[in-house]
């Protein structure tokens, strides 16, 4: 009996050590433990340990920056799923989309989520910018972070636009033809810019591959980098602190 009990005690101790190695401070029942948890947790360290209540009032921030970031995560996850089924070539892309919609389990819902989350992100990023403008939060010392945010809005639009081509249906190809035609009007560099962007004179295989690579690697990396800077600067420059 004592042998079994000793073995059980040992087992619980090991389990306790395992849990303790992941969560160092137990349940955050007091402010002190909560503060320590925030300090030692990688995923929470994006926040300051303590904030003023006025900084996080929902009626002030409307959580729009946070929601934009969350939508970026949703888009990354659903996008990864879509990448398992999608081949970016003019001979496969459209059929892959049909399969996603009609054959793959939950393929349609995931694709819809990706699509609607992309539209939602354009809207939340825009509204976030409007909130920051209307509360004058871009003023000293946050001028730089406003600029970073503007670039993030641009990247959001470009991500959405490059994704628009990928289904390779009549909507995609012509929307992107119209969109990239706008680049043509720049003096001297215009036609070259368009050629560089779509890898030819018409939207075809090269354009699909370029947009795909930009959509799944290039632009998300750029967005990620700028977001890291953006969040870092929110901490360093201080929250704007309500009106």
């Amino acid at each position: 009996m004592t042998v079994i009990r000793a073995a059980l005690d040992e087992m619980f101790a090991v389990i306790g050590q395992m849990v303790g190695s992941v969560f160092r401070h137990g349940l955050p029942l007091t402010d002190k433990i909560a503060a320590r948890t925030a300090l030692t947790n990688f995923f929470l360290h994006i926040h300051p340990v303590r904030v003023r209540r006025s900084w996080i009032r929902m009626s002030y921030t409307l959580c729009l920056g946070g929601l934009s970031f969350f939508l970026f995560i949703v888009l990354t996850v659903t996008g990864l799923f879509l990448m398992f089924y999608y081949v970016p070539s003019t001979s496969h892309a459209y059929q892959d989309m049909r399969d996603l919609q009609f054959v793959v389990t939950f393929g349609g819902v995931i694709r819809n989520m990706h699509r609607w989350a992309a539209h939602a992100m354009v809207i939340t990023v825009w509204l976030h910018m409007a909130r920051v403008f209307l509360t004058g939060s871009y003023k000293k010392p946050r001028e730089f972070n406003w600029g970073v945010g503007t670039l993030l809005l641009l990247i959001t639009l470009l991500l959405s636009f490059t994704g628009y081509l990928l289904p390779w249906d009549q909507l995609s190809i012509w929307a992107v033809t119209v969109g990239t035609n706008m680049a043509k009007y720049a003096p001297i560099a215009g036609p070259y810019t368009r050629y560089l962007l779509i890898g030819g004179r018409v939207v075809g295989d090269n354009a699909l591959l370029r947009f795909y690579v930009l959509h799944v690697v290039g632009l998300p990396l750029a967005a990620f980098l700028l977001m890291v800077v953006h969040f870092w600067r929110v901490r360093k420059d201080g929250f704007s602190g309500g009106l």
Binding site: L67, F70, K184
Partner: protein, 179 residues
Amino acid sequence: MATETRDRIAARDRVEQRRRQEAPSTVRDDSEDEMVVSFPEFVFKEFIAAVAMTVFLILVSIWLQAPLLGKANPGMTPNPSKAPWYFLGLQELLSRFPPLMAGVAFPTFVIVLMILVPFLDRNPSRRPSERKVAIILFALYTAIVVALVIIGTFFRGHEFVWDWGWVLGNPQTCGGKPC
């Protein structure tokens, strides 16, 4: 309390103090506001917002199909051909002004202007009542953008000319036939 934690708090207080000194007097002083731990107070709010957004997205995605038309056909141009909705404002401008101006000069100008906003706005106040000009200008800009997007989406038919048909019914054709 551990020295490390004390140092942290002292450093944070120094940062706050400097910020207060540098901040223009017309910015609200928040130094007396109540302090709370961000975990779980703040994290909880974000969590609720994230869950609400997830539920909303799943529901919308179940009920609303993302569009998928026929396979891309380079030989058959739909009329009108439209850019994605967030670029329809630009397309709308292109239909009204010379391309160099509407397609290149204007968007570049707007982006540069936006980045420069914090340096152009010399008013140190953040109170809406003291920022009437800035707010009116922003409202005007937003109204123009939204109006252009709505016009581009709903009131542009064949050859991108003005058409009420986009509200009443979709007159888009492919090679002269309905798409």
